[in-house]
């Protein structure tokens, strides 16, 4: 451990050089700007900005990319809170309470606690990366297809925790998301499913246009229907969090950090799982769970911390095993290789200076984002003062652009519009949209894991129960579902809930 700390200090010496600091600053700003554009989340934002780093030396290039990565994540948070358009799937959770806070005139505290929570989580996760990467990676190596399946089942069971007053409607939304995810090529046998001869559907239904439609477009349609060009946000009441906001956020930030960090060690899980688990966990421990979705700061602080802790922890499998933990990490891995560096255990041995400089720059990037964005919160929040007619036009235009640039095709724009209409109808009938997005991501992973598990066991389902980690996760999932169902039954008996 002392060796690691010494190497880390050496990394800081490199990361804090003026030119590297400048690249980190530029990356943070550019990443935030790109992340703000609806539909262009961290993955796309990081990918499109890679060419900017071609002329830099490898250390500077990766430092800048890491800063872009964090910046784009915060940009996605901005759009989730301010205009209810998630920059990526994981930000959809932040929409639930973040946007509700913005409508109450409390966008400032939401953004501030998101930034502070993200900073804390990123710091802790970076320290974790330094101290315990190797031993924890050994545990992550024990995750095979059965364990991934069980983890996805646990993730899906947590969807029930997102049900508002109606569990059945949440389940309908969730099952619909699973079905939408079935469109495309079967993950094991390669057979096309539900493509109806449309070539574009062979790649499946892209998640980002669906999320933009369900959350962003539908929200704007509802607002336009109600008030045309009138204001729908409450007068801004505060820009910075109160003492009460900070007090209420401490627990969620700590819990979210732990959740995000632990799950980030497992490659391929995705950022949605830790943010979802964090949100549901906060609802569980809250004394007023029924108020989630109406502007609870815990619903922002926890998931945002989980997201950022996950983002840092997901670098651990990359550095130690050469496995990208998320799509964005995969893009960064590509950047590594473009710069002649192969992520994996030998990276620490052959390019130790580089690795520790990058790790140090992760922390520096976190600091830069906090220093940059906290004072800029009044600027970000001032977006809400733009006349709604102009704001809606700009958001819709950027959403069309974001959807178009996914595949340079109007097909994804069409998907976004279709789901905008579906989302509009779902809002009218009180069917929650979040479960649909979440199951779209988790479903294919679950199906693939199950079928791989059955391949391993020659069709024997008991493999899921005979392996201790998967059995434990499945039991947890069952307990959660039973607990939620009993809670709903009690509500129905008390007259406070619907089917």
């Amino acid at each position: 451990m002392m060796d690691s700390l010494g190497l880390l200090l050496g990394g800081f010496a490199t990361a804090l050089q003026p030119n590297n600091l400048l690249f980190a600053l530029m990356g943070s700003i550019l990443g935030t700007l790109v992340g703000i554009l609806p539909g262009i989340g961290p993955v796309a934002g990081t990918a499109v900005l890679i060419p900017l780093t071609f002329s830099l030396d490898p250390t500077a290039a990766i430092i800048m990319l890491a800063a872009i990565y964090y910046g784009a994540m915060y940009g996605g948070t901005l759009t989730s809170v301010l205009v209810n358009v998630p920059g990526e799937a994981a930000s959809a959770i932040t929409c639930l309470d973040g946007y509700a806070m913005a409508k109450q005139g409390r966008a400032g505290p939401a953004l501030a606690m998101a930034a502070i929570g993200s900073f804390f989580a990123g710091t802790v996760a970076t320290m974790g990366l330094v101290l315990i990467a190797l031993p924890l990676t050994a545990l992550a190596l024990k995750f095979g297809p059965p364990e991934y399946f069980a983890l996805m089942v646990l993730g899906l069971s947590l969807v029930t925790g997102l049900a508002g007053r109606s569990l059945v409607r949440a389940l309908v939304s969730g099952v619909a998301g699973l079905l939408i995810a079935m469109v495309g090529i079967d993950p094991v046998m390669g057979a096309p499913r539900f493509t109806f001869g449309i070539v574009r559907l062979l790649d499946g239904v892209a998640l980002v246009p669906v999320a933009m439609g369900l959350f962003g477009v539908s929200e704007i349609l509802i607002n336009i229907e109600k008030s045309g060009g009138g204001s729908v946000h409450a007068k801004l009441t505060s820009l910075m969090p109160s003492r009460e906001d900070v007090r209420r956020s401490v627990g969620p930030i700590l819990r979210g950090t732990g959740i995000g960090f632990l799950i980030g060690l497992i490659p391929g899980v995705g950022a949605v799982v830790p943010t979802l688990i964090s949100y549901v966990a906060e609802r569980r421990v809250s004394r007023t769970p029924e108020r989630f979705g109406s502007g609870m700061i815990e619903g922002v602080a926890g998931p945002e911390s989980a997201n950022n802790a996950y983002a840092s922890a997901a670098l651990i499998p990359l550095f130690t095993l050469g496995l990208p933990g998320s799509p964005t990490i995969a893009v960064i891995m590509g950047a590594f290789m473009m710069n002649g560096l192969v992520p994996g255990p030998f990276l620490f041995v052959e390019h130790s200076d580089f690795v520790w400089a990058v790790i140090a720059s992760l922390y520096v990037g976190n600091v830069i984002l906090l220093v940059l964005n906290l004072p800029l919160i009044p600027l970000w929040v001032s977006i809400l003062r733009i006349p709604p007619a102009l704001l809606y036009a700009a958001i819709l235009a950027f959403s069309v652009l974001g959807a178009y640039t996914i595949g340079n095709s109007v097909f994804d724009v069409g998907v976004m519009l279709v789901f905008g209409v579906i989302g509009y109808a779902m809002r009218k009938l009180d069917f929650p949209a979040a479960p649909m997005i979440l199951t779209m991501i988790l479903g294919p992973l679950m199906e693939r894991s199950l079928r791989q598990s059955l391949d391993m066991s020659q069709g024997d389902y008991t493999i899921l129960l005979t392996r201790p980690i998967s059995a434990t996760l499945l039991v947890l999932a069952a307990l959660f579902v039973v607990g939620t169902t009993l809670g709903v039954a009690a509500k129905l008996k008390g007259g406070d809930g619907e089917l």
Partner: protein, 163 residues
């Protein structure tokens, strides 16, 4: 699809019944397509297995919604559930505008299509500050085009007019 008027005002009974029936029909269609795929192999579930299970689950859940809406206590509809004529018109026009933008990006190019949309929509919604509208329209069309082309190096459609 108007909510029924109950003793205490409109309810969601009829809309939920319609939604549930639509879901049942959709589920039945997807189930029919799923059984055409291979359901099971010697090594476990085939491509059609999960979709079939999910559609059966969806049909069951939709049936629960239908039963709840039909026999349960009527759920009051929110006051603005049925849009007024003006509201419905606004929504329809916005959707039509978005479809038009999507279809015109290719022929007209991104800049012109977006400029027209960013001018037209605020005017339609009743906003009349022309300088602000034009500023946003120029930034949102030409400005964004330049940012994508020069900074991000992402080409966007130029269109037949070369604009």
């Amino acid at each position: 699809m108007s909510p029924e008027a109950g003793d205490a005002g409109p309810t969601l009974r009829r809309p939920l019944q319609v939604a549930a029936i639509v879901l049942v029909l959709l589920g039945a269609f997807v189930a029919w397509r799923a059984v055409e795929l291979r359901l099971y192999t010697s090594m476990g579930p085939g491509p059609g297995f999960f979709p079939l299970c999910l559609t059966l689950l969806l049909i069951g859940l939709a049936a629960l919604v239908l039963i709840g809406a039909t026999f349960g206590a009527p759920e009051p509809a929110p006051p603005d559930f049925v849009p007024g004529r003006a509201g419905a018109l606004r929504v329809g026009v916005v959707l039509a505008g978005l479809v038009a933008v999507a279809l015109l990006i290719g022929p007209l190019g991104m800049r012109l299509a977006f400029f027209l949309f960013l001018v037209g929509l605020p005017l339609f919604l009743g906003y009349r500050n022309l300088p602000a509208i034009l500023a946003v329209a120029l930034i949102g069309s030409a400005g964004v085009f330049a940012f994508f082309a020069r900074v991000l190096d992402i080409p966007l459609p130029v269109g037949a007019l070369g604009i």
